[in-house]
Symmetry: C2
Subunit: 382 residues, 2 copies
Amino acid sequence: MREVAIVGAGMTRFGELWQSGLRDLFAEAAVEALELAGADHLDAIYVGNMSGGRFVGQEHLGPLMAEQLGMAGVPATRVESACASGGVALRTAFLEVASGLSDLVLAAGVEKMTDGADVTDVLATAADQELEAYHGITFPGLYAMIARAHMDAFGTTEEDLAHVAVKNHRHGALNPKAQFRRELTVDQVLKSAIVAEPLRLLHCSPVSDGAAAVLLCPLDQARRYTDRPVKILGSGMASAPMALANREDLSSLDAVRLSAERAYKMSDTDPGKIDVAEVHDCFSIAEICCIEGIGMVEKGKGGEAARTGFTALGGRRPVNTSGGLKSKGHPVGATGIAQAIEIFEQLRGEAGERQVPEAAIGLTQNMGGSGASSVVHVFGRV
Amino acid sequence: MREVAIVGAGMTRFGELWQSGLRDLFAEAAVEALELAGADHLDAIYVGNMSGGRFVGQEHLGPLMAEQLGMAGVPATRVESACASGGVALRTAFLEVASGLSDLVLAAGVEKMTDGADVTDVLATAADQELEAYHGITFPGLYAMIARAHMDAFGTTEEDLAHVAVKNHRHGALNPKAQFRRELTVDQVLKSAIVAEPLRLLHCSPVSDGAAAVLLCPLDQARRYTDRPVKILGSGMASAPMALANREDLSSLDAVRLSAERAYKMSDTDPGKIDVAEVHDCFSIAEICCIEGIGMVEKGKGGEAARTGFTALGGRRPVNTSGGLKSKGHPVGATGIAQAIEIFEQLRGEAGERQVPEAAIGLTQNMGGSGASSVVHVFGRV
């Protein structure tokens, strides 16, 4: 396998972007990535998108996006793994460059969620339709059960959950691309409306529009495009039973653990080597389970990590310096790529007020549904 | 890049399979492919599916299918390029094995179209939503315009179109997996109801349920699984403008031509070397344009190929010996894989009454929408 680097990145602001359609969002992010690298052609495009068919009546996004870039002809594939679609786009693009078939590949993600679809209903297609969604449960309910299991097993508290949201809003307030650039207090979180007990409104990531794109090439060609390439050290992916009823333990996310183990193995790293990480905080409980799953904290200790400042900017292991899904926003297909962009900027020393000093190795963890799929990438400064 | 072979294949019968859901169909095909090869594990799964979200309310098919196989944990990705989703699944699986990351990868496709969704409306998500589908046009109308352009430019006749359907039904009558195992006459086609002039009912492929799967591994490991592996000699993919209004010439399918050129280049072959081909005859005019696009006949000469017997079993260049989409059926996400299975069987000498004598090199061409994406693979006997 060839070594692969990221040499360009671009993303739209995340938010309710009424003025932009799916293809506008994609093109804005893609053009920014191409311009940053000074690249004028592509060998292939991968588009991560969860449900263009349900959100805006548009499947077949690959060729549509190639055309929008003025690059009709270029092979362009849509990949999907629910909210992990962006991470999967990065992984497939990585494999195409690593294989030797292509030199310059765009990995992008895009979602347009605010165009009138019943968002909760559409997102429920990421759960098991026959065993879960058909019977009426939606994602806040699924994650509420996971939260309850974690509380019962480890004594995790509602305050612990609130601290995740507070930390990520503090980070997101520093991110010009974030949907919500305002800080929250623990008290505000604990007084926000119940969505699915114990999860309240301010434990939940928002409904968002947005796109993100990164440009990949073989490491040995990277200096043509940038003097600060970021190497993809490892890629790990895993699945797990989809319906919660089919899992042995609701408080653990097996796909997260497995995908991280695979990425650490490929990259010859371990959790102790990770300077900065972006993990999938679609609900505050998810961040807690994910930092346990990637081995950043011991099983059962995730609840205290935000409260004690361990995972905050300035702490030992900063997590979701971008603001995470909670504050930055969560246009589902774009999220995995946006995570990679935060790490790209951190490892290049370009994260501004969010910069983690001396960050040399970073990790992204992007999850589908209630954890049935997970993709982990480890990145290194070159 | 490592050399890659297909060592196992399985598919359901195509048809209105009321008794089977999406995951049942997938598992039936996948288990058959694994058993044929005597394989008991997988390193990765790619699932081609056009619109599980719209047809049956299920996105996130990767992990669901891994779980259904009893293989939760295995990385599993859904890929989509409308009706070319199966071809794209084959291509991404090929790249993963070629890259060296994985040894044993399943490329599958599945679609469940008869569960109550408005099929015409769902299929229209493969067209340009903003420029075409929103304004009311559906696929028979788009291909009718392509047919008119071909008739105007080259004198192609309604009889020429009918001969494609007649030929493919004659082939499909010999295929135990085909949806329609009965022959048609030209007269029957010409007297069938108009759908979108000049296209009649019997020029159109049907609405189908079904799944298909092939098992890939490095060529140098193939003999562990079979004594008759089939090598993937080349893979080509291309995009083209999606809306017909954005194309220079409606009678040509640029993505087909480009994807074929790329596959010939990688495989060091040319149209003259192809003994048997499966091409994307979603409508009879599509087969005519596609055999021109892959260079099997000169531009403008596609109309006479079925009529003269050139592309029939026993002719110089048999096309769609499986019965094609028209007779075998067209569960959209599964089609590209089913095409590969026909070639796999032909090159192994296992095609029974449909066998092309001495077939050594075969080709598949799988198309998305009205030709905005196309994937071509070239296969060789080992």
